[in-house]
Amino acid sequence: MDGDGSPSPAGPAGPGRPDHKGGSRGRPAHGILSGLSSRARYLVRRAEHTPPPPGPFRPGFWRSPLRGPWLTSVFGLVLLIGIPLMFVTGMLSYASYNPDLGRLNDQTPDKGALGFYLFAWPTHPYWLYRLTQGVHVTLGVVLVPVLLAKLWSVIPKLFAWPPARGLAHALERLSLLLLVGGVIFEFVTGILNIQLFYVFPGSFYTLHFYGAWVFIAAFAVHVCLKLGRMVSALRSRSLTAELRTSLAHTRPEPPDPDGLVPAGPAPPTMTRRGVLAMVGGGSLLLLLVTAGQSIGGLLRGTALLAPRGREPGSGPNGFQINKTAASVGVTPARVGPGWRLEIHGAGPAHVFTRAQLLAMPQHTASLPIACVEGWSTPDQLWSGLRLADLAALAGLPDAGSVLVESVQPPGPYASVLLRGNQIRDPRSLLALRVNGADLSLDHGYPARVIVPANPGVNNTKWVHRLTFRR
């Protein structure tokens, strides 16, 4: 099962080797394969007898007395729990946009089989997206020190000599390039995106989604090949004993077949307890300066370095703004007295002024705004018209979807599709007011959509047209 063990047993291998089974050996294809394989083995043997180049390829180069399978496995175990959780919450976030509903919602129209699991995103519990995306982003930030420590602990393997000990080893190393390149690519694109630092080559959704699949394919292989070794390495030392070991008693782990333990270790300057505390401390510190942006209230101020650690204002409209009106080109003139709401459906279109909408029966819902960037607000008290009532008004009480269009100039999320289950939830509103005041321009005045568990950008602001569809 493992290409990382000792090199294939040497021996007189090749086309002329006696064969116990006999019979079918004479086929030409087999002959070519055998020829290739003997040639490959010859190259490997030659590489094995070539001394490694100087520097990091030499066994004596890596000297940290703490590197070893146990320490690597501790970090590996944390990532083995954390990364699947990030993958699942990420895939849920992808599903939450309802990309299968139509091209408007779909940043990745050529996803093909990768969208196999898509389902109608629910509206219950109403804090679902707030939780899953808060976990996805906060966990990603918190895992950065663990990821760095894991990569540090296995760095000697990058300089293994010979570079490939055979086909199995070569393929496994290719997969490791995808694993390391993939995990850093995913972390970097995610972390840059939440800071609105859009320097990556293309749309974030496309890169982060397809990148996740490239990464998870390599991750699955890595788990298959290394799980057994991780378990036995974890069993080789007791965590509680390690946490009590002082510097004077810190010794390197016994030599391992992977060569993580250095051949000539330097004297330790840190205990294993110290390394775990430092890495864990890094994660804890990142949690402290980040998590508040997903919790809100008084804790928001603790998110000292997170993008949404401060409120943009005070009063009823003082909560987080995803994109201000000015930043997406919505001017007060576009939503002035001339603004009308159009409702299309089965019959003739209905057109309303804001005053007419306010004169209709108003409903309230206490709902948060939760962004793909991981931040969210506590529940805000919205009031306005139920989408279900507007669907009935349009003559389509059982509408399968609604196209929501904003006055904002064409661009990402200027219009989105909502699904039938979202229309029919009684808490789904076309909100006109929030927390007892009119919506501010930055929060979508004159009217905006708010739907439970919906990702923030799908709660369209500055709505001017609703088109209900069967």
Binding site: L114, V144, S175, F197, T206, P307, R308, R310, P312
Partner: protein, 167 residues
Amino acid sequence: MGRFVRWYGSGPLHLLVLIASFALTGYAMVRLFALRPLGVVIWFVGAAVVHDLILLPLYSLADRSAQAVLRHRATRMPHPPWINHLRVPAFLSGVLLLVWFPLVFALSRPYPGATGLSIDVYLGRWLAITAVLFLASAVAFAVRLRRLRRAHRAGGERPAPDHGAGP
């Protein structure tokens, strides 16, 4: 089977798992590279290269240099291991910067306009956190040093050098 293992270098299951993985990789990669293949390849491979061949060697070198340059000359008085009092706050401050550098260095142009928040607070906040981390580490070191020397004077003999090097 033995023949396959000799030819391939591992069991057939190893090969099957890898082929299945590469098939999925290929399927996703075609889509990942669809629009700007060169840019994405540079980012994907560059991610591994920048970490493995630049970031890791740099911080290792910084650690070694700190130990070499700041090595204590032999003094009469004993001192506790000091490198971790530098290493730990530097690591903590470093990971904060590594994660939040676009905000700390105000590199994100859309940020102020989109969020209605100022981006200028982050550099000061990061510096303040860094100062607190190093200050706390220095205080911890001073306390240990004081205890150690007091014990040294009281006992009149060399105390054990080991007080744990963990943070």
